[in-house]
């Protein structure tokens, strides 16, 4: 029983982290859908995926017992944070500061 309780605690904590990470990704997608312009969509993107992936990585780290795997998961999280910062910055730079310099070709209002 004494060994059972920490395991249960760990498992439920892991489940909580993983599922809240998943929910954050859904929130990020909804934000991407609902926000009105490109710059605020950058906001939805970088917040949601960094935090969501961070929670999922934390949950997975709790489940492993290998240091190498835990470090690799952390590395992937750091890389994704760095990359999404950079690409968010670049897209915002492209979209917000030079909107009229070279407009994209007129897209059709199809459907």
């Amino acid at each position: 029983m004494e060994s059972f309780l920490p395991t249960l605690l760990l498992t439920s904590l892991q489940g909580l982290l993983l599922i809240s990470g998943g929910v954050l990704f859904v929130v990020g997608s909804i934000g991407l859908l609902r926000f009105p312009d490109t710059c605020s969509r950058v906001h939805a993107l970088t917040k949601a995926d960094n935090l969501g992936l961070g929670l999922i990585v934390l949950g997975l780290i709790l489940g492993t017992n290998s240091l190498g795997v835990a470090l690799k998961l952390l590395l992937i999280w750091l890389l994704v944070m760095f990359a999404s910062t950079l690409s968010g910055h670049l897209v915002a730079w492209y979209a917000c500061y030079h909107p009229a310099e070279k407009p994209l070709p007129q897209e059709p209002s199809d459907d």
């Binding site: 599922i19 990704f25 991407l32 997975l60 998961l73 670049l90 897209v91 897209e107």
Partner: protein, 87 residues
């Protein structure tokens, strides 16, 4: 524990399909690329969970590759603009 993984996976794939709507709507290329970026991160999360679920450690390497190469699209978006201005 398995059901937690599957619930998280279903949530992630659901958000993947939701994000497709933004990419469909656009209206600008930058918006579509933002959607692709979010879905790339979602893909990384799915790969990490699949690695644990299917006992497939190589899925983590795949996630690593995805994480490193995901920003190339944004660089290509910006690079094209500057090159066309200079020429």
């Amino acid at each position: 524990m398995i059901w937690v993984y599957s619930v998280t996976l279903v949530l992630l794939l659901g958000s993947l399909l939701l994000g497709l709507i933004r990419i469909w709507r656009g209206p600008r290329l930058a918006d579509r690329l933002l959607g692709a970026q979010l879905l790339g991160t979602t893909g990384v999360a799915v790969l990490l969970i699949l690695a644990e679920w299917q006992l497939q450690p190589a899925a983590r390497d795949t996630a690593l590759v995805l994480a490193m190469l995901a920003m190339m699209l944004a660089v290509a978006l910006v690079a094209g603009r500057h090159k066309s201005r200079s020429s």
